[in-house]
């Protein structure tokens, strides 16, 4: 197990390296002048020169590469043209907002999709099952930004049940300790702000979660159905276990395995979805930041952010692999054989 984990980490580092290098080469190999691209739109020649010097464009390629790698290793991702702050600190300031959104969406997904998926599988052929299958088939392909727009239109604009956007009402003042509204408000002894935060969080989290809920529900249902047809489930019943125990301990437990694999993809979906949802809901997270930077052609930000996110993704996928090996001993055996 330990050896496998180390192997996975090493493999992840290798991929990370490839990713980072690829970014370097893409910028350099594309026609046009990278310095101009990296400088503000109406930069004076002196500014462009400074950027050129910073990027080391006048030095040989391998020196540039070394410089670049050094910077990345030191987490120096450049400076935002817009805010004049290091990209990294800009990102770190905004990450909690995105995490809060993503985490809320994830919790919603688990809480809704898994029970419904289980019920649909156990009551196969019932009306609940059919309804579940129909709705999930349609919902799963819905673009997340459109869902967000629709949600705002229906629930906020037309029905006035939810706020139109933002993390908190404009007048609300909250000192930022952890960056998480829900935690900070409790720390400040203001549960009313916590509620307000939840109120603002509800709609974007649900919009972000919706397509994934549909997907996970279908996956859970299908996976559980397949598992319930296995022989060891028959054995479990023959032992005289309660049906609920059979379903949960033998059925769901095994049905989860394929889902863990897809978990990595799920994170990507959450990531890219969050980006769009933040834009629609004016949610002050990383996504919104990248969007704003794109609009003013603040490319260093975009590049830096993309690298960070890609690296995060690689890291998470490795964790998922390790988790899956832990959950299913057979996977560990086959992976060990392969590597």
């Amino acid at each position: 197990m330990l050896r496998f984990s180390l192997q996975r980490v090493a493999s992840a580092l290798l991929t990370a390296f490839v990713v980072v290098s690829a970014t370097f080469f893409i910028v350099r190999l594309v026609p046009g002048d990278p310095a101009t691209a990296m400088a503000p739109p109406n930069a004076r020649p002196a500014q462009i020169e400074r950027v050129r010097e910073y990027l080391g464009l006048d030095r040989p390629l391998h020196e540039q590469y070394a410089l670049y790698l050094q910077r990345v290793a030191a987490l120096d991702l450049g400076t935002s043209i817009r805010t004049n702050q290091p990209v990294l600190s800009d990102l770190t300031a905004r990450i909690p907002a995105s995490i809060e959104l993503g985490a809320a969406a994830f919790v919603l997904e688990i809480l809704i999709a898994i029970p419904i998926g289980i019920l649909a599988a156990v009551r196969r052929g019932s009306r609940l099952d059919l309804l579940t299958r129909l709705t999930s088939s349609t919902v799963v392909g819905l673009p997340v930004f459109w869902v967000s727009l629709m949600f705002i239109w229906i629930f906020a604009f037309l029905m006035g049940l939810f706020p139109l956007g933002g993390r908190l009402d404009l007048q609300t003042d909250l000192e930022s300790v952890t960056g998480f509204v829900l935690i900070d408000s409790l720390l400040a002894g203001r549960p009313d702000i916590t509620l307000e935060g939840l109120h603002h969080l509800a709609l974007p989290a649900l919009a972000l979660a919706l397509p994934s809920i549909a997907f996970w529900t279908r996956l859970m249902r299908g996976s559980l159905l397949e598992v319930l047809g296995e022989e060891y489930v028959r054995t479990a019943r023959a032992k005289g276990l309660k049906w609920r125990t059979v379903v949960m301990r033998h059925g769901v437990r095994n049905a989860m395995n394929p889902m863990v694999t897809v978990f990595g993809f799920e994170l990507v979906a959450l990531l890219t979805g969050a980006l769009l949802v933040e834009i629609v809901f004016a949610w002050p997270g990383v996504g919104n930041y990248i969007f704003g930077s794109l609009q003013v052609r603040d490319y260093p930000v975009v590049q830096g952010s993309v690298i960070i996110i890609a690296l995060l993704y690689v890291g998470v996928n490795s964790l998922v692999d390790i988790a899956q090996a832990r959950l299913d001993p057979r996977v560990l055996a086959s992976m060990q054989r392969r590597t």
Binding site: V18, V27, G32, W146, S223, E230, T272, Q303
Partner: protein, 306 residues
């Protein structure tokens, strides 16, 4: 074999399809039979082909031009003159939707087709000739796979600037590894079958073997993957269009038509609903076809998430 392999796993995909396609490389049921057998596929095909048709025939279906600005008739609700109303520059919404179909459906289709072809070719060659070539190629593929498609598109755009073609190329690059891995797995499995060994023993050239024996067997999962990918590309295009990348104004694109001031949308709901419904419909159509094909060929492929 059973539960734990029913996932994003080209190996089980390959195995499943091989079981069904029989020894001589002929599918056990012709395409016509498959389509006829599944209502899901039929409905999906109707949707997809209608939208494709509308996109291709757009110029003939509407008197307006999608870029025709009419500042006197800004933000008009649906009327006999403008069946889905006009947008903030007085352009006819229906016309823009139809031309948007060209962008999403037609261009999207072309993009995916090219990506699939390139990916399949890479996979075929890597799988057939194996060895160091295979290893090197697959490592590159895995590295690309490490990037979420949207992120890759963002990266590309941040460097080369926005535009429809740029975005399509970015999605293409992001998609190639999927097709390559799929093809490669199919090739590796089929290659070991007896009739391929027989052909090789008879001295058939690699090309002949690839085209006559391997390719027909590998088509099925490739088609399924491509179909499902189309849905994703349409959403991806729309998402990027929404952010302002992708197709640039004045080219109408469904996602781009949804970006901009939200307040305007809420007072002119026809502008909000129509492009959204178009996107949803297109995605639904492709999902139905893809899912239907997958169920028809082997329910075990159910967990293929592209």
């Amino acid at each position: 074999m059973s539960s734990s392999s029913g996932t994003q796993d080209p190996d089980s995909t390959a195995a499943a399809v091989i079981v069904l396609t029989g020894a001589r490389g002929r599918r056990m049921r012709g395409i016509g039979a498959i389509v006829r057998s599944s209502g899901t596929i039929q409905v999906g095909l109707v949707i997809v082909l209608t939208l494709l048709g509308l996109g291709l025939l757009a110029p003939f279906l509407t008197p307006y031009s999608p870029t025709q600005i009419d500042l006197a008739n800004v933000l008009q609700p649906p009327s006999p003159a403008h069946l889905i109303g006009t947008d903030e520059l007085g352009r006819d919404q229906l016309t823009r939707l139809l031309y948007g179909a060209r962008v999403s459906m037609v261009m999207g289709f072309v993009g995916v087709f090219i990506a699939a072809s390139i990916g399949a070719a890479i996979g075929l060659i890597a799988g057939y000739f194996a060895g160091i070539l295979d290893d090197a190629v697959m490592r590159v593929m895995d590295a690309i796979l490490a990037f979420p498609a949207l992120l890759l598109a963002l990266l590309v755009v941040s460097v080369v600037g926005p535009g429809l073609v740029q975005v399509l190329i970015a999605f293409g690059i992001a998609g190639v590894p999927f097709y390559a891995r799929l093809m490669r797995t199919m090739v590796l499995s089929i290659r070991t079958r007896e009739y391929v060994a027989a052909a090789e023993a008879l001295g058939a050239s690699p090309f002949r073997i690839i085209f006559l024996h391997i390719l027909p067997n590998a088509m099925a999962p490739l088609i399924i993957t491509t179909t499902l990918a189309m849905g994703l590309v349409i959403v991806g295009l729309a998402s990027l269009g929404f952010i302002g990348l992708g197709a640039q104004p004045p080219t109408p694109e469904w996602g781009a038509m949804l970006s901009g001031s939200q307040a305007r949308f809420f007072t002119a709901p026809w502008l909000l609903l129509s492009p959204g419904l178009a996107i949803v419909l297109a995605v639904l159509g492709y999902s139905l076809v893809g899912d239907g094909l997958r169920d028809a060929l082997d329910p075990r492929l159910r967990y293929l998430r592209v």
